[in-house]
Subunit: 427 residues, 2 copies
């Protein structure tokens, strides 16, 4: 196989039917942004939309805009757009609150259902490597419900599905390693073992095709500011399968989740359907920005939608992996991400036996933005260099240039000096 | 006492030292906005600030802005500004989530403290007329903790403070009637009776002087989009007295409330102080807008701050009451708000023995924006016309013009026809 050259990247871009989608974003000149898995880029439409909300809807319309500008209905409308990306039916998904808080709602509901259907099941199973906030919420709820949270190593959860397990709580794409679960297969195994599933889609919604109803999943939540490009702290989303949604209430019973939110009756009556997962007043500016972010993904629908985006995402990350193999084999880099594309999301993580923090800082100084995640040293976890490959706004040539820059940084030896300097500074 | 004329209003405005504060806002031409108690007006600074967050901080800075633009610290910084308005010390108050969700956090914490200190106390006392979402959250938590929520009529709570009461949950200014509680006196009575207090400041923060530490209050929450002018769905705030804050955790244990939020350890360790009431990622666009809204109140500090704003608020609402008395006595209007200014917030509510909805619609059509609140007919509650008097952007002449417009609407008889038409339509 001949060594790939930068001109091959330019040729791939010229032939890429998704290339025009990049024009939807404003990206800083000369920056290669490989951190869309943490914070998506700014869509061109967002600034004008938010200005309209500010000056016309709020400034001119004032309180009237709850009706005239459709504010009251926006969580449902944006939710219906996200539903198209994750295999949910219309009116099954709403945008509200943060990912953390939505996890609290759905895990509470899942535990209520488990208690009713199988009171002897007292264990929530999750992974030690799951996103920490998910584990914090599960700890809080386990204590509240008199249950146990048991954490297993990544990939070991199915082996722990004994008859004491009420809920399996997983993030579909791991935020550190990028490893991807087959939602349908895992859900089927959980159901066969009598457990409910709660899926965190923070790193999969907008990144890989998700089919919640096809997988017969039970509960799901997801993030608005990563692959959905909703902006810093964009509100999150929540979905519950139709077979569960009206069975139980969730504990954060605010006015917007009421059956008659404007009647202001004194007894809480949850709305039918997913609207009962709404709580207080939605953050309208942030919600409008998220609406624009989701539109950047829906713009791919005529070109094949999430399936087409996924193909490009895999092509980008495969290319990155190949170039790292070809060009950087002299350096102590190891892939922490599964090399089998079917088992990873839209990111590639590398461990580096050296000062990875210094490498990432040097990369960022050269305008290649990935991120660095320190490992938990008490558990022997490695530090990670993470690189996200967002097919909406990344080009193949960017992958060539990013690897070349990484090579320049490694060749410069800055990481050896920095490591030494940092060690010296700490002593 | 001679009848007041519109020119008296102009004279009052000319002599008003707070009059320049109005220039901080963009208000629609010809609109008299008497609904700042539901949604504050748009500050002039907000659009530019939000654009900066969008295009420079997000668009250019991307993920780096968590550090370089100070995003991570913004909930604390805006909290410290609000602290100056409500008698809280620096770093005692943070901005996060919604009012509803913050109520869940503080009421959970209050119940945990009560359970530890006085396990025989099993009752939460609140008012039937409290804001419904507060009651919904209290219902949810009472059920979760095996406690009872008891609702009394407005003003009757102190008489119910028997030795079974754990927590007294009150909104300082009632959203319907505008009645104002003396926080220090009520808190002292609650403490004397062995109960903790949870104060909802939704209609008092930025509307009346509040002194949380002076009153020795226990827990408080408040709203960002009413008198704080933070925009639709602005995030809310939460405060806990120093004597309680590190005693107990709150159940919504997200990453941002962790003692070391970026270390991503797997066990939840709450931060010291009010930071443990943070949860997930803050909605940055909405939070930046709130920052500008709070600044419009702090701009009054050189002119006497909340005390001076309160004097003008009382002068405006006293004037409204006097003009309604003088000019509208022929119509079936009744004040639902205490006429004693010391016992009301920054709004005046009227009951109307006729089609109040039609009156308010006609007023809004003539560009005088108040709001209509239907009463709970099953309890015999009256419908209300609510008028908020926000001293930051209302002029005395606006009060004259608003009452004149209300008189025109009533003189036109539209409410009689509308009432008849609506009755006809229902039959």
């Amino acid at each position: 196989m001949p060594t790939l050259q930068r001109q091959d990247g330019l040729a791939l871009d010229a032939a890429d039917p998704l290339a025009p989608l990049r024009e939807q974003f404003t990206l800083p000149d000369g920056v290669i942004y490989l951190d869309g898995n943490s914070l998506g880029a700014l869509p061109r439409a967002t600034a004008a939309r938010v200005q309209t909300v500010l000056t016309e809807e709020w400034g001119e319309g004032l309180i009237r805009s709850w009706n005239t500008a459709g504010w009251i209905d926006l969580p449902r409308r944006v939710g219906n757009k996200i539903a198209r990306l994750v295999g949910a039916a219309p009116d099954e998904l709403v945008v509200t609150d943060s990912t953390s808080i939505n996890l609290y709602k759905v895990l509470s509901a899942a535990l209520s259902i488990a208690r009713a259907d199988a009171p002897q099941r007292r264990v929530i199973v999750s992974e030690r490597e799951n996103f920490p906030t998910d584990l914090y919420m599960a700890q809080s709820l386990a204590a509240q419900h008199g249950m146990q949270l048991e954490l297993v190593e990544q990939g070991q959860a199915l082996g722990r599905l004994h008859d004491d397990v009420a809920v399996l709580l997983l993030t579909q794409v791991n935020y550190r390693s990028g490893a991807l679960y087959d939602m349908a297969a895992v859900t089927a195994a959980a159901h066969a073992a009598g457990a409910l599933t709660v899926w965190d889609l923070a790193h999969s919604a907008g990144a890989v095709p998700v089919d919640l109803n096809g997988a017969q999943a039970d509960f799901a939540i997801g993030c608005g500011y990563k692959y959905l490009n909703g902006g810093p702290g964009a509100p999150a989303f929540v979905w519950v399968h139709a077979r569960h949604v009206n069975r139980v209430e969730q504990p954060l019973s605010g006015w917007h989740g009421h059956a008659a939110p404007f009647v202001f009756t004194r007894d809480y009556q949850p709305a039918q359907g997913i609207a009962r997962y709404l709580c207080g007043t939605s953050t309208l500016l942030s919600l409008a920005a998220l609406d624009c972010g989701v539109d950047t993904l829906l713009a791919a629908e005529p070109m094949g939608g999430m399936q087409a985006l996924r193909r490009k995402s895999v092509a980008l990350s495969d290319l990155f992996i190949r170039l790292v193999h070809e060009q950087l084999s002299a350096y102590p880099l190891t892939f922490a991400t599964p090399l089998d594309a079917a088992r990873r999301g839209s990111q590639v993580s590398l461990t580096f036996d050296g000062d990875g923090y210094a490498v990432m800082q040097a990369l960022i100084a050269r305008r290649v933005i990935g991120d660095f995640r320190a490992g938990d040293k008490t558990r022997g976890d490695a530090d990670l260099l993470r690189f996200g490959f967002t097919p909406l706004y990344l080009r193949y040539v960017d992958v060539f240039d990013a690897v070349q820059t990484l090579r320049d940084v490694l060749d410069s030896g800055v990481w050896r000096e920095a490591r030494f300097a940092r060690k010296g500074a700490v002593t």
